[in-house]
């Protein structure tokens, strides 16, 4: 029989043990989750970490072409960034080594340490993991009871990036949680951004028509007010002012409405996957998993797609087309399909001459990209219009023409099957100087409008329909020090003529507006 005081002592001891056990559990879970987070190369984009005493190993400077900014060209001494910070910009591959592009900041207080960015560096994934493990141990030893607070204050991820599983989320246990809806203030910022888009008429432009036609002066061909390039700033995704479908915004797709700067560190495979998942839920709502390609189903799904805001239509047009046409682990295959899609959109919008002017302006690669993005944002047709234009991209075909959009995109297809498409989408903006072989010296990547699959090209009895006009092109590009080359698709230049509609409105790349459903 135990006395009341003994009972009290035992209860107190039990409480202390329980507290200790709970705290230990929190620490284990936290460490486990942080390591889990570190094993996912995409998940740290946009996060900032303060650097105490832990040196960063294997830093390799990344220099920007065309920048006159003075940068450190060797790995910085740890003294320079002691008590400073490191911000993860994005996943990065250098010489086939996976890691992160980071910006390292000094705090300006240590002798010899400048305040602000020391430059951009590449840090290998394992070095980053080691750094974070040291940081976790530091946190744990400093304040066991306040571990959540310490983590939240020490690992500050971009608050706009609620699609990143930030460490604060990780401390709540379990695997990284599905991204949540952005808080009210961020949603309000996005609404503001839609309002911020220039409401003035599109700039007057002057362009020389080809084929001896007279010089034309007029307003840029904008369908409904101005639009702006968003997402990665490459001009692929555009938001349209006065979009009649603006109110039909999809939760989780704010990343498509952000500008490129706001998206720095946010635009990632995870954020795009979440957006895509929500969009698919929306357009396939109430439909069976074994969705059939009937005319009625096709019309129903396509109508839902064309009722989305412009930027979401562009995104679906891009991702779905790549999924159906080039679901390839080699990202250049999908990125080149996107290039064809984009070229056709430019063709349909008769913007090629302006894009050509951008390229011949003599500006830097970045300036040319910005110019292209501005021009691209002015078009009437979006990527989805081009994608679902009848018969052009086989996957969207009607049943009689053997379309397979239902089995390629439908409700039964798991989310992870879109990984290659999203990686191709992210790869697209990294393609700068594209090398083309197999065509003549005049081959222009901006006028590559056709491709077919190599397997189709090689099929018995199937003649390459365009080879009589132009040879198939092989395309390669160097991204992050690695060379990527097309192999499963053949691309063609000069099959199509550009920029003009015939008397009955037929434009080769856009027969009709599908929105007239």
């Amino acid at each position: 029989m135990k006395s009341p005081s003994e009972k009290f002592i035992m209860t107190k001891m039990t409480r202390e043990r329980l507290s200790y056990a709970a705290a230990t559990l929190v620490f284990i879970i936290t460490s486990f989750n942080l390591q889990a987070s570190c094993s996912n190369i995409e998940s740290l984009s946009g996060c900032s970490f303060s650097v105490k005493r832990s040196p960063l190993s294997n830093l390799i400077p990344i220099t920007s072409q065309g920048s006159s900014e003075q940068r450190i060209i060797s790995a910085p001494s740890p003294e320079l960034y002691k008590n400073g910070s490191i911000r993860v910009v994005s996943p990065y591959v250098l010489n086939k080594m996976k890691g992160y592009k980071v910006i390292i900041n000094g705090n300006g207080k240590n002798p010899g340490s400048p305040k602000g960015a020391l430059g951009e560096f590449f840090i290998p994934q394992n070095a980053m993991t080691n750094f974070l493990q040291v940081q976790t141990a530091t946190v744990a030893s400093e304040s066991f009871g306040d571990i959540e607070y310490m983590l939240s204050s020490r690992y500050q991820c971009n608050l706009g990036s609620l699609y990143q599983p930030d460490p604060l989320t990780l401390t709540q246990g379990g695997l990284p949680q599905k991204p949540k809806r952005a808080p009210a203030e961020i949603r309000e910022n996005i609404r503001q951004q839609r309002r911020r888009i220039n409401r003035s008429p599109a700039a007057t432009y002057e362009r020389e028509q080809t084929r001896n036609e007279a010089t034309e002066r007029g307003q840029a061909p904008v369908a409904s007010g101005a639009s702006t390039s968003t997402a990665d700033g490459s001009g692929l995704i555009n938001m349209r002012e006065d979009d009649p479908n603006a109110d039909n915004e999809t939760e989780g797709c704010e990343v498509l409405r952000n500008g490129a700067e706001e998206n720095e560190g946010i635009l990632s495979e995870e954020s795009l996957t979440q957006c895509l998942s929500n969009l698919r839920e929306k357009i396939f709502a109430g439909m069976p998993r074994d969705l059939q390609n009937t005319t009625a189903n096709r019309d129903r799904v396509f109508k839902r797609m064309v009722n989305l805001p412009n930027e979401e239509q562009e995104f679906l047009g891009a991702i779905f087309t790549v999924k159906g046409e080039a679901n390839d682990s080699n990202p250049i295959e999908g990125a080149m399909v996107l290039k064809v899609l984009s070229n056709r959109r430019n063709n349909a919008n008769a913007l090629e001459d302006q894009i050509k002017a951008c390229e011949e302006s003599g500006g830097s690669i970045i300036e040319i990209q910005e110019c292209n993005a501005k021009v691209n944002a002015e078009g009437k047709y979006n990527l989805l219009d081009i994608a679902i234009d009848p018969m052009q991209f086989s996957m969207y075909n009607t049943p009689e023409l053997e379309g397979n959009w239902n089995t390629t995109l439908g409700p039964s297809v798991p989310e992870e099957n879109f990984g290659n498409s999203i990686r191709s989408f992210l790869f697209y903006s990294k393609m700068e100087e594209v090398n083309i072989s197999g065509g003549g010296s005049n081959t222009d990547i901006d006028q590559v409008y056709h491709y077919n699959t190599t397997s189709q090209y090689n099929a018995a009895g199937q003649q390459n329909p365009w080879n009589s006009r132009t040879p198939a092109l092989d395309i390669s590009v160097e991204v992050d020090g690695e060379t990527f080359r097309t192999s499963s698709h053949k691309f063609y230049y000069n099959v199509d003529t550009h920029g003009e509609a015939s008397s009955d409105g037929w434009r080769w790349t856009v027969k009709s507006e599908f929105k007239n459903l």
Partner: protein, 145 residues
């Protein structure tokens, strides 16, 4: 008197039909102008022509035919384009030649070809026009006046 009219009409119809039937693929040709336009012309006389749909990939004359219910008209079919990615679709169009007026009156889609299957467009003719339908929607009209 009625019998005479009938014989005369029959004679005229026969002449017209013979005229139409006389047209063959070799009576037409496609030429490319300096500006890239493709022209389908009747060889004799060569000033009878129609400008084909502009951005075509691979124009190729295929056949000349008549169609029941479309009297006085001869259809000159040509391959107008090949499109698609994994499923290649050949698109065919016809230039419509009116034997009464000895002129081309329009250019309409005739069929799609996927592998060995041919999928014709539906044409409907009234006194005033020919309409082309796809999925029960009118996609093109040609006036007969």
């Amino acid at each position: 008197m009625k019998a005479m009219k009938f014989i005369l009409l029959t004679f005229i119809l026969c002449l017209t039909s013979m005229n139409a039937l006389a047209l063959e693929l070799s009576d037409f040709k496609i030429t490319v102008q300096d500006n890239g336009d493709h022209i389908l012309s009747k060889k004799d006389p060569s000033e009878i022509f129609i400008r084909l749909q502009k951005p075509g990939a691979n124009f190729e004359l295929k056949r000349v035919f008549e169609k029941k219910g479309f009297s006085d008209l001869v259809f000159v079919e040509y391959l107008s384009a090949t499109i698609g990615t994994s499923v290649i679709v050949n698109l065919y169009r016809v230039a419509i030649f009116d034997t009464k007026t000895n002129s081309f009156i329009g250019d309409i889609p005739s069929k799609k070809q996927v592998k060995d299957r041919e999928l014709p467009y539906l044409w409907k003719k009234s006194k005033e026009k020919i309409v082309v339908l796809e999925n029960n929607k009118i996609i093109q009209e040609v006036s007969l006046k």
